[in-house]
Symmetry: C2
Subunit: 344 residues, 2 copies
DNA sequence: TTGTATGCGTTATCAG
DNA sequence: CTGATAACGCATACAA
């Protein structure tokens, strides 16, 4: 492979100094239009592309922000990503979307990225967040946890966050099922031991029933074994199959995500049963498919666009105005749709 | 912000040379277990993280491969991404997923990334691909176009590709509708002028009807204005609404993607009409939701997992064995499901 | 306005 | 086995 072309080569070709080329590229003020155009012309001809590693190494002040996303295939994040990109580009910052693997430590990844890209700020998106406070303190730039369940007892002054109150919202939708007369409500959940959003939503479920003094049947819980794809349609389908094969009695199903709800619907419909006549079913998140599915699915909609906007707002406040860390909790919206009916 | 810790600081702390530290990090053979452990210990204590920019700048031989994906929110790519990651990590290469914006030039991005990360190979995923041959030749590392419509007349020896024959597969599914007795088939498409997959699938449609000497009603085509989200549920919904509001006659709808088909179903169901009794509908791609939707949607399934595997296989052949460029065309699988019925 | 020289944090080459 | 030292490609303070 032929050696790559550098800024030096361009300088030689132009018969100018190396710094003049650099100035042309970064349209620095201290350069005449004339030489600048000349240099740029040569650059174009030569198909020269500056090496970003070299640049990042040298630079102190790069205006770039990274969004670290755990579970990039989760449709819940799709609309958020779009907003992040818009907002960050509006602020003339460079936007980096970085996928982090399920079994990867997001803080570790963040630390690397900060050094490599000289990040100005970070958004952590998705996943549960159980890290040593000590580790968190190593992050030297502002960061916001967006739609993340923080289960550890870390000092709230060390990070910012944007989320819904999963317990309360969960309670809302279970309350609705109770209003509709359902008392035997099965739950399709993620890993039982998982310190995650799944746990919080289950807590909401328990609270709802307990408040109404309805006894909880632990046999109505279906937990996921392989936790990596817990919130998928496929998993919802499997868990529902399992439930259908049991002899438990229930009139409603609470899937802890809309995707799971869709899978569950499929499993039910396959048996010839009807929704909501035979079973009522609800989801959580309010992703697009909950509206488009047939029947449309009753759910708690998280205001993802607003949440994404608020996330960036807090982040830029932190970066530009050096404000203190903030924690913003959004209200979910209970959307009643076709997938539920009252018990007669 | 306190100055970041470097390899130099570690060396000082350990009382060893700077290169010894480097050797410890990259577990180079030329270092004693003893000193290595000592150094690593200090590194851990100090929370030192090597700067990747510096490393990439220096390195000549980085075993890393990037997947450049256009339209990361397209569910069609979800399963492919998983396979790419697995296959690339199996080969002990580093996997980079890089999202490229709709209005970004993927080749430009690739060129930058090659320099920055010293890439060994590239996978281009999604989008249409209309680039100057000259530009393509600037890419100095092997690359494979995966599920991309190549519309330009570039020399096939310059790139590798993995895809289905969109024209033929499209014809297959339209043929099926014809077999079922449908002749008035509406089409929900992307941009009319777009040199993309949408065009190819439309060609298949035309061919199918023309072969059977059925006249084509141009009024049954619905094209997308905003091309950025052409293949989404939302767009399918809009286009179908528009179609329903027209006075055209049709008994079947061909949505050029499964997501669009879902949106179209919703629009139809909202009017109180039934699928497939009132309208038959088919999609394309074979993504998960086509199975889970109610009714399940007849579609052409692209063997995405195999295609992703073949993509990496070709890429590694190119990298490791320096084989010549290959072009692999997969067969789609026609899956007949609930969304269609025969005209009586 | 322009060019020269230095250093960003690493790895690799070469002596020791 | 270990330690200086020279690159890697670029941006910038400083000199011209």
């Amino acid at each position: 492979m032929m050696k790559a072309i550098t800024i030096k080569d361009i300088a030689k070709k132009c018969g100018v100094g190396i710094s003049t080329v650099s100035r042309a590229i970064n349209n620095h003020p201290d350069i005449s239009e004339e030489t600048k155009n000349m240099v740029m012309e040569v650059i174009k001809e030569s198909n020269f592309i500056p090496n970003k590693s070299a640049r990042n190494l040298k630079l102190v002040d790069t205006k770039t922000i990274a969004v670290l996303i755990k579970g990039i295939d989760n449709p819940f994040f799709q609309n958020m990503i779009r907003v992040f990109e818009e907002e960050i580009q509006n602020k003339k910052y460079t936007f980096i979307l970085h996928r982090v693997d399920t079994n990867q430590d997001e803080v570790e990844v963040a630390l690397e990225l900060i050094k490599e890209k000289r990040l100005k700020g970070i958004v952590f998106l998705g996943g549960s967040f159980s890290h040593q406070q000590e580790k968190l303190q190593e992050i030297t730039v502002p960061f916001v946890l967006s739609t993340i369940a923080i289960t550890d007892n870390v000092d709230k002054n060390l990070y910012s966050s944007v989320s819904v109150n999963d317990i309360n919202e969960s309670k809302k939708i279970v309350d609705l099922l109770l209003e509709y007369g359902h008392t035997k409500i099965a739950v399709l959940a993620a890993d039982s031991s998982d310190m995650s959003i799944s746990q919080l939503r289950i807590q909401g479920y328990r609270k709802s029933l307990t408040d109404k003094e309805i006894s909880i049947n632990e046999n109505l819980f279906r937990y996921t074994c392989d936790n990596s794809n817990a919130f998928t349609m496929e998993n919802g389908y499997k868990l529902m199959k399992n439930l259908l094969d049991s002899n438990e009695e229930y009139t409603a199903i609470y899937a802890l995500s809309d995707s799971m709800a869709v899978g569950a619907c499929k499993a039910i419909l396959e048996t010839g049963k009807k929704i909501p006549q035979d079973y009522s079913i609800v989801g959580f998140d309010g992703i697009d498919i909950s509206y488009y599915y047939n029947p449309s699915i009753t759910t708690i909609r998280q205001p993802v666009e607003q949440m994404a906007k608020e996330t960036t707002k807090i982040l830029f406040d932190l970066i530009e105005n050096e404000t203190t860390n903030q924690h913003r909790v959004f209200e979910g919206e209970l959307i009643v749709r076709q997938s539920i009916s009252k018990i007669r």
